[in-house]
Structure formats: structure tokens, C-alpha cells
Symmetry: C2
């Protein structure tokens, strides 16, 4: 197999950057700051017709002046000079580019002509490129970030390929607060050269990517996409959010990256064939891809539910029933074991209801371990993570009247959540968690940092579990089919 | 009409509180702190068999010792003494109670017997009460909060009635971060006396409640519920999240508040009949009830979409198409007017795409006003609120290398969002907003404080708009029917 063209782009050791200046309001300047300031270990050469330095880094007036041939060119210049710049890059011997600039195919006939020219120049010099009309790429493992937002949350197991730059870069703070971290992310733009299929193949091979999130406005090479996706799905899960299937979505997407969307039902069918889990919204795309990237594979569709709150327990049970997840009653033996730890006003039946209990260790450690050992369910859902927020809030409200010492409680409470991490990491048992708090709670933050999926509502945790279970089932069926036992289905 | 029994409970001027102590780990102590510390203007009398003071407030050993008859008793004591305490309250002449204590009907046969006794005692003294097995009530306009979490976000237009205490109190910090504020909230518990129908009638009459969110595990008085809900719906919107319709949900809910859930389809039909908007999750319940409580009524189902991000625009357009919201092309006249403000690389068609523009005033003020005046759509969706977060993040990342002054920018940016508030408040034009940032962004916070609905993803904004439009349409149809013009439909 020939090397994927994204390999050098993602691992470029030297970058010629066109379009950054000392003007803090331009996109190129925003983008280069990360290469300069986020400890990227490669070399960055700003190319600027006039400036001697760009943000303190020595600038060159022309790519021809560079002391060496860079591995990558990043181009954020006005549309009408993009082709010329790419030609200069080719003359210097550069073989890879990320073209951020817009104004091509997405702008109608005239733009399309420009894009054809651009492709001709690339072909002449054998340059493989991402874009144009994209927001760049991120390789979180190398602190290599060409996009607009800073990426400071460290590497993670989720890869992203997107027809929207927003869903790669503008979402970074949103994802950071939810503990979601990229392995690699590619804003595909107009796909004049490197496209969704190339990029999917690349992330499929990437050992640092455990699951792949796709935002799709249109698929240009249908057959190749299905073949590639099917191969990749057998190795790692793919979640796709497709918006080209409605007239309004297609119209908007068309002006956006210059392609007409296909038919919704056909895409839905194709996704199922490839084992792709389809997400209905961008929130679910990240929710599910993150769960699939981090959660051990469940053996079946039975779940145990644990909480100290009746409403969320009921919401979880209801959402399970609506999403084909079983919530079986625990056997009398298991219920007996649980009874020593669950308050009498609660329930051991499954859902396990701790009612208003403050014994975090029992709820997050002892009881989940009993459920794991009983082997009556394939995974656990827990609502009620954290809670230090409550204590702190009450401490503030009751300041001076509640005789409590809050100083050490926060880290103590975080540690009490370690049982969940141990179940996931040491026993490969799937646990997905939720509560109404967020990353500002020390315990939630502790789980997020340890790749335990956490969601801010009970139903989102169930839906994520459902995605994990659906993929596991698809994969089991593929193995059955390949072994012949599924041939009569 | 006789006065609703909740009226005195919600407006109690004096409260006898049973079950609070100086032990910071008990529920009763948590609950009384808010009455003492959140500037509630009524009188609180802790009743405790031994303590001389509770959290600094003079305590009485018995309700009989109180200098006056309190308007309300709040009871958070062990199950076996609840009835006795209620009897003592009756002897003192107290006519209203909130019974927090659990251990009744939800605990099976034995608990059911206790609950019957409790009701007998209440009847004997003509006491009307909320509970048992609830988390209390909140009247945000009076800083009257009997629940576990502090409520510090001030009053708002959304009322809540819930069979789960969690969905009244544990969600308070979650809602606060989303700008969602209660008018009044009631945790219904086992509904041994005051029930969903009573409480719905009460919020229906309450002038401070503009929309009502219901979390329902089961409906005990079906016919009365439908009649009351229909009457209330004609005055203000109701959103319901019902979880008793699946076997697992019913089982969990049953152990939770002691009732068996009914059939999902029947409930769905009943909700439609009454004009109730049904929410599929607790997140949507608050999302939609908040939008309905704050958004002016749209005249139809056409929407204009505005953003500087192609992905969210496409997501919004796609989600509109899937939820029966039209995204009509703007006329050439309107597009001409828009063209002066929209970058050439963008689009004026609808969705209006600003691409990577930093002109906040054009996107949030000038263009929305042109769209409003064109009268070609009935409401506006905007993605891309805030953004100071980006500038701040970049400022941090580029500290020392970007020559910018961030000091005044934050409040300036917040002010630029004022055009949206003016459209909603001065021109009664519905605008629902979104972006991937949150309340920590000054501009988002400014909108939240001014009751402009804001959501953290593009699709959630569309779904909220859909709820607003569905209710408006239902109400229009009711008016048509009552005027006879709908009789042949």
C-alpha cells in the first residue's frame, strides 16, 4: 500500500506559512500563533512579502529564499494569488499543502474555474493537498494545530473528519469542557485533492485513533467510501453526522463547500451496510464517537443502572427501553448482596436506587463491583457523578453557619470516583456516567481526564451506551458472517 | 373558584420546620439553610426536640410552644413519626404542609398503610399538603426555597412540576448555567393530597409563570388532567416529559413515587389533544419550556438563518427541514439589501452565511433587522453568539506576541449583541440563538440575563424553535375552531 498523502501533512517537520502577519485581526495570524506558541516541535517559516518578522519569528519574503525545502506549505492568502503561491511552492520542491483560502468551487462557476487551475498546478508539481476552503488540520499528539482556535487539551483517542471547519476548530473549547480530545482532525474543505475517502483510510490506519467522527455534507466517491468505511469499521467504530439529505441542508451545504447533497435514505442504507453509526446532530456525533473511542466493548445489550436520584434512574430506564437496551431485574442473590449497601428506602432491583445517600464509595465502587461480578448485565450506567459542587454551593450559602471543613473534601471526593476508572481500565467493563454537573466539579474532571465517558443528562448517557452496543453488535454479526454461522440470516 | 391550596404554601409568611438540626450532613439541615440565608422574608421556626438553636436561629422543642400559628409546616423527619408530627401541627391550627420525608407508598404495602394514616390525620385537621416523598417547593419571586440546592439565580418565567425531586433541585446549577430561571417549582412526590392537576391549575393561574414544564411518571386523575391542561394550554404553553410509558421506565418510576405508569401511546394522544408539547428527554423539557416562556409568538413556520459558520448553518437548515420549519430563499430585493453587509465569499440566500467575518454588529444587528423588516420569514435563528472566548483564548495563547488590548473588549462585545434583545423585546420578533460557547462568555451571559433563548448546539436551537412554532400553530387552530372557521377541517 502506498503511503497516505495525509501522513506527511500530519507529521510535517517544517512548514512554510503564507498569509500570517503582525495584524492580530487576520485569520492567518490567528492560525500561526498556535504553531509558534503551542510547543510544536517542527520549524515554522512565515513567508511575507514585506515583514522581516511575523510574531517575533524571522520571516522570508519568498518561499524561494528558504534555506531548505519545507515538508508542508500552509496557504491563507487572498483567492487570486493562491495558485501562484502554490506554483512557487512546487518550484521549491514542496510536495504537500494545506490550502485554507476560500473563494473556489463554493463560489459558483468562476470559483470552479479557479479550482481547476489550482488542481492543474498541484498536479504539475505532484503536490497533494487538503482544501481549499478549509480551516486546517490538527495532530494533537504533535501539538500541530493549523486551525483558528488554540488546542490545549492534549491528545485523545477520537479522530475527526469534517466538511465544516467549524466542527473541527470552533468546537474545541466546547469539546475541552466535555473532556473530549482529538487524536487527529481534518477540515476537508472543497476536497479538490485529498478527500473524505483518503482521510478515512488514513485515520483507519492511525494507531492513535480509536474511533472516527465524520461530519458529511456530501460524499463524492460513493463506492470507494463504502468500501473503505466497511474495512475501517471492522477495525474501529465510525460515527457519521450527515446533513445533505434534506433540501434545505443540501442547499446550505452546497454554498458552503461546493457540492450537492445526495439522498437521505440512500445514505442511511449505505451507512448501515458499512457498520457506520449515524448521529442525528453534531452533539450526538461527538457524544457517541467519544464513547466509542473510550468504552470497552460490551458483550450484549443488558445494562445495570445505578443512581441516588429517582428521576434520572427512571429517565435512564425509559431511554433504555426506547433504545433496545435491556434493564433486567437482578437475581435475588445479587439483590441480597446489594442490600447491605443500598438504603432501605431505595431499591436493589435494577435500577439500583440509593435515594438520598451520601455514601459515594458504596454507590460508585462497592455496588458497581458487585454488579460487575454478578455477570447479569453487560455494562453499567451511573447517574450522580460528582456532587462536590453541591457541597461547595451549600458551603457558600451556609457560610458561617454550617460547621464544615471544605479544604480537603474536593480531592477526597474525586478519589472516591476511582472505582469507575478501575472497572473500565483494569476489568475492561463498560461504564458510562452522567450527572447535572460538569467539568468544574473535581470528580467529573477526574473521570474526564481518565477517559470515562460523562454526559450532562441521563438520556445522553443512555444514547451513548446504545451507540456503543449497536457497534458491538454489528461487529459480532460481521464475525459470525465471516465464520459462516450467520449465512442463513 | 376556591383558592388553590398551593397559594398559601407558595406564599407562606411563617414556617415551622421539622427535621433541621446543627448536623451539616442531614437533608433537613441542608434545606433550612436556604430559608435562613437566601433573604426569605418570612419567619422560620425550627422545631427540634433538644436543640436550643438551629444554625443560629432560636429553636422550639415542640410546635405547641410556638408564639403564633405558622402558615406552613415543613416536615423532614423519620417516616415513623411523620403522622404524629402532622397531628401536632393540626392541633396547633396549621392548615398547610410540605412533607419531604419518604418511606410511604413508594415502599410497598407497609408504606401504603402509613400513607393512608397520614391522609386521615390531614383530613381530620383539614390540612392540605404536598408530598410525602418529595424535595419541596420553590417560589423564586419570594426567595422561598425548601429544596436541597441553593437557588440564587433570581426569578424567571418558567414554572416546573415534577414527580422527581431531582428535576426540581439537583438541576438548579445546570439550569443556572443555561440562564433558565424558575417562577415556581413543585416537587410533587407521592401526591397523597395535592397532585399534578392541582398544581397545574395553580401555575395556570399564576401571572409570573409564562410556560410550564412537567416531568410526569404517571397521571392519577386522567380526565381532570386533560381538562385542566387544555384550559391552561389556551393561556400558556405546557411541555411534558413523560417516562411511564415503557416497562423499564414504569418499573423504575413505580418504586420511585409509588404509581404504575400508563400506556405511552395513550399519553401521547392525550398530550396532543391538550396542546401539550411532548419532550423526549429532560434536556429538551427545559430547553423547550424556556424557549416557550421567553420567545414572542411566531406567525408562521418560516425561518431565517444567520451565522458566520457554514457547518452550523447547514446543521440548522437540515434540522429545520426535518422539523417542518421552512427556510425560504430570500427575494432578490432582500438579498440585495443584505449584500452590502455580507462578505462576498458568503451567501445572502437564506441561510445567510457571513463566512469568517468579525463584524459582529452586521451579523447580530443590521442583518437581523433587514430580515425582520422584509417580512419574508416569521422568526430568526442565529448561530455564533459570543466569541469573546475565542479572542481571550487566543490572547492567552499568543500572550506577548499579539499586540492587543483585551481590557474593554469584553463588555463592548456583549453590547454588540443588544440588537437581538431589542428585536425580541421591542418588536416582539422571535429570535433563538446558539453557539458552542456558554455562560462564561460575556455576550452569551448578556443574552441569558435578558431572556433570549440560547443553546450550545445549532440543532438544539432549531428544536426549541420547532416547539415554539408547534405551540403557536396549535393555538391558532384552537382560535380558528372556536371561531367556526376550522369546523370543516
Amino acid at each position: 500500500m502506498s503511503e497516505n498523502p495525509l501522513h506527511v501533512i500530519m507529521n510535517a517537520k517544517s512548514v512554510a506559512f503564507f498569509g500570517a502577519s503582525n495584524n492580530p485581526l487576520t485569520m492567518g495570524t490567528h492560525q500561526i500563533t498556535h504553531l509558534i506558541n503551542e510547543s510544536f516541535e517542527g520549524t515554522v517559516w512565515p513567508i511575507h512579502p514585506k515583514e522581516k518578522t511575523v510574531l517575533g519569528v524571522k520571516a522570508y519574503n519568498s518561499v524561494a529564499d528558504l534555506p531548505e525545502t519545507p515538508e508542508l506549505a500552509v496557504i491563507v492568502v487572498p483567492t487570486h494569488i493562491v495558485t501562484e503561491i502554490l506554483d512557487q511552492c512546487g518550484q521549491k520542491g514542496i510536495k504537500r499543502a494545506v490550502i485554507i483560502s476560500g473563494g473556489f468551487k463554493e463560489r459558483g462557476e468562476e470559483g470552479e474555474k479557479l479550482e481547476i487551475k489550482l488542481k492543474e498546478v498541484a498536479r504539475k508539481h505532484q503536490i497533494r493537498f487538503v482544501g481549499p476552503n478549509c480551516i486546517g488540520v490538527i495532530n494533537a499528539h504533535r501539538k500541530f494545530n493549523l486551525t483558528v482556535y488554540p488546542y490545549l487539551t492534549g491528545p485523545g483517542p477520537m479522530g475527526v473528519l469534517s466538511h465544516s471547519g467549524t466542527y473541527v476548530t470552533q468546537v474545541i473549547p466546547y469539546l475541552a469542557k466535555r473532556g473530549i480530545r482529538y487524536s487527529k482532525a481534518v477540515s476537508l474543505g472543497n476536497e479538490a485533492d485529498i478527500d473524505l475517502v483518503d482521510a478515512l483510510e488514513y485515520l483507519g490506519q492511525d494507531p492513535e485513533t480509536k474511533a472516527i467522527a465524520l461530519y458529511i455534507e456530501s460524499i463524492r466517491r460513493g463506492r470507494e467510501f463504502v468500501e473503505t468505511a466497511r474495512q475501517v469499521s471492522l477495525k474501529k467504530p465510525i460515527v457519521a453526522y450527515y446533513v445533505g439529505g434534506t433540501e434545505a441542508g443540501a442547499r446550505s451545504g452546497s454554498s458552503h463547500t461546493g457540492a450537492m447533497g445526495g439522498n437521505d435514505i440512500i445514505h442511511d442504507f449505505a451507512f448501515r451496510q458499512c457498520g457506520i453509526i449515524r448521529a442525528p446532530t453534531v452533539e450526538r456525533l461527538y457524544d457517541w464517537a467519544w464513547a466509542l473511542a473510550t468504552t470497552p466493548t460490551p458483550k450484549g445489550r443488558r445494562v445495570g443502572i445505578i443512581s441516588h436520584s429517582g428521576g434520572p434512574l427512571t429517565s435512564m430506564a425509559d431511554a433504555c427501553a426506547r433504545n433496545d437496551i435491556e434493564v433486567p431485574l437482578f437475581t435475588p442473590e445479587t439483590q441480597n448482596k446489594l442490600a447491605s449497601f443500598v438504603p432501605k428506602t431505595g431499591s436493589t432491583a435494577n435500577p439500583v436506587d440509593f435515594t438520598y445517600s451520601t455514601n459515594i464509595n458504596d454507590m460508585l465502587n462497592t455496588v458497581p463491583n458487585i454488579v460487575f461480578e454478578a455477570e447479569e448485565v453487560d455494562a453499567i450506567l451511573i447517574h450522580g457523578i460528582g456532587g462536590f459542587g453541591l457541597i461547595k454551593d451549600m458551603g457558600q450559602d451556609a457560610l458561617g453557619i454550617l460547621p464544615m471543613d471544605f479544604s480537603k473534601l474536593e480531592s477526597e471526593m474525586a478519589k472516591m470516583h476511582h472505582g469507575i476508572i478501575a472497572l473500565q481500565k483494569e476489568k475492561s467493563y463498560p461504564v458510562i456516567t452522567a450527572s447535572f454537573t460538569d467539568h468544574t466539579d473535581a470528580a467529573v474532571n477526574y473521570l474526564l481526564k481518565n477517559d470515562v465517558p460523562f454526559y450532562s443528562t441521563p438520556e445522553r448517557a443512555v444514547l451513548a451506551m446504545s451507540a456503543v452496543m449497536r457497534y458491538a453488535e454489528w461487529k459480532r454479526n460481521q464475525i459470525k458472517i465471516s465464520q459462516g454461522s450467520g449465512s442463513d440470516q
